[in-house]
Symmetry: C2
Subunit: 287 residues, 2 copies
């Protein structure tokens, strides 16, 4: 048998992954959900025809979105994750020693359910007592906190683990959302969002970068290599009210990153800093 899944990543470029079987194909209230078992990457989660992650290299995206912002914050106790129903970013965040509470606001409960069923190694921390799962719209959620939330309800770090800026995630790339998110952060809070490919989505990176720069005292972009994402290089945009996200906060000076050695397949203190060192063509985008 030779069967392939094709993803059109731009109108003019795509990837193909050879599949062993289709493990799931359903339509939730929000999107088309497919899980393939593949020869190259193990099981792969596909939402609205775009690969979200593959078992074999999900560690890159989840470690880099989860760990970089958290380890640049002095004491990230309260975390908000918008999207990320698969649980990969939750799993990474819980490696930070300060984390006391994570709110996971995922609009599509179905993603959480299928992840628990098919990706137990990714969803493994969704039942942790520190994690509260809210199946609702992340945009409405931060607007509510921003407009009426008490200081205690605000977050140390907000992470946006969204799909591409079409369909359910479209609003997560708009100024009103970014402003409400900033208002839902404490005075030393850090915001980080996935912001697509530096090769294919330069306008998006430029536009988001401008807004984040206006809203936050410090803004920055970092990158990581993810084979199943368009172009293989992915960007994250960070806005910070106080801390320099490029460096690990000194509160971790005595922290033993080695305790996670087998667990951390991409992230390390050296990668933390070097992921902010950008090739000239990416620096040009941000000018």
């Amino acid at each position: 048998m030779e069967a392939w899944f094709f993803e059109n990543q731009t109108g003019n470029f795509g990837i193909k992954i050879r599949i062993k079987s289709v493990l799931l194909h359903e339509f939730s209230d929000y999107q088309e959900i497919t899980i393939y078992d593949t020869l190259e990457f193990g099981k792969v989660l596909v939402l609205d025809k775009a690969v979200m992650f593959a078992e074999k290299n999900e560690f890159v995206y989840h470690e880099m979105l989860g760990l970089v912002p958290l380890f640049s914050h002095k004491n990230p106790e309260r975390i908000l994750i918008i999207g990320g129903g698969d649980g990969g970013v939750v799993r990474e965040c819980l490696k930070n020693p300060f984390v006391k509470h994570i709110d996971l606001v995922e609009i599509d409960k179905k993603v959480i359910d299928v992840s628990k069923e098919f990706f137990p190694e990714i969803a493994c921390k969704l039942e942790d007592r520190r994690v509260r799962i809210l199946a609702e719209d992340g945009i409405e959620f931060v607007k509510r906190i921003n407009e009426g939330g008490s200081e205690d309800e605000k977050y140390d770090v907000i992470l946006v683990d969204s799909t591409d800026p079409v369909g359910p995630a479209e609003g997560l790339f708009r100024r009103d959302f970014y402003e409400a998110a900033a208002g839902s952060l404490k005075d030393d809070g850090i915001f980080t969002a996935q912001t697509e490919s530096p090769f294919f989505n330069q306008n998006l990176i430029k536009d988001v970068g401008k807004i984040i720069k206006e809203i936050y005292a410090k803004s920055s972009l970092y990158c990581a290599s993810i084979p199943v994402y368009p172009s293989g290089l992915w960007s994250f945009t960070a806005g910070s009210k106080k801390y320099d996200t490029k460096v690990i906060n000194e509160s971790y000076n005595n922290f033993d990153f080695g305790r996670f050695e087998a667990d951390l397949k991409y992230y390390s203190p050296e990668i933390h800093s070097s992921s902010f060192i950008l090739p000239n063509f990416i620096k040009e985008i941000l000018k």
Copy 2:
């Protein structure tokens, strides 16, 4: 019209690029040569069904193979490039202020000819008076220098700009070639070869790394993001008899990298060093 070029990058993963036209399709004595005009990447050179480079992002590979080794060498006057008939690495090497002579040993003269015709911006320095083009087998060439070459004939830097380790380039990934290359270098020489994808070709990287480590005083691996190559992340293995390839040699302390600002789209002094900072899963390969 909707037509696509497909490349099977592994047996179970591939890419597709939408084409506007087929500009050339010929068989040389060594390989199948195809040039497509594409919507996403401009013109693309394909050898034996594998993308060699795309106009729109060739700068990454050519800058990183050409500039990293040269700027870690104190005074790289004599350069040998094996393969690279397109001229991209020659173009980059000539940005180094010490370079006096480049021997380009490309087995397939046809690649040089089509590059001059279809990629004038890449082949632009092939007629430079410092460049000598030899259409012959790079393996035989270094064996000859190694066995009977005078000290003057030896090189400061040898760069291997090869196709994948199947077909004409197979011998360029073997120990006898690496040893002959080392013997064709001066006492402070640097050797660098492209060594495929850290996600897909871990055995190759491990095997080449072991041999280079045995032959050279210093060995190292660095990476760069190339969207049209398998997994989007590419590796280069460097062996050095004296210099630390991870750092720019102090002979460039007063060198103005800014003079190439518009020219250098990927490489910078900061990228030079950070490209050697490897994610944990790549460090594991090299253990």
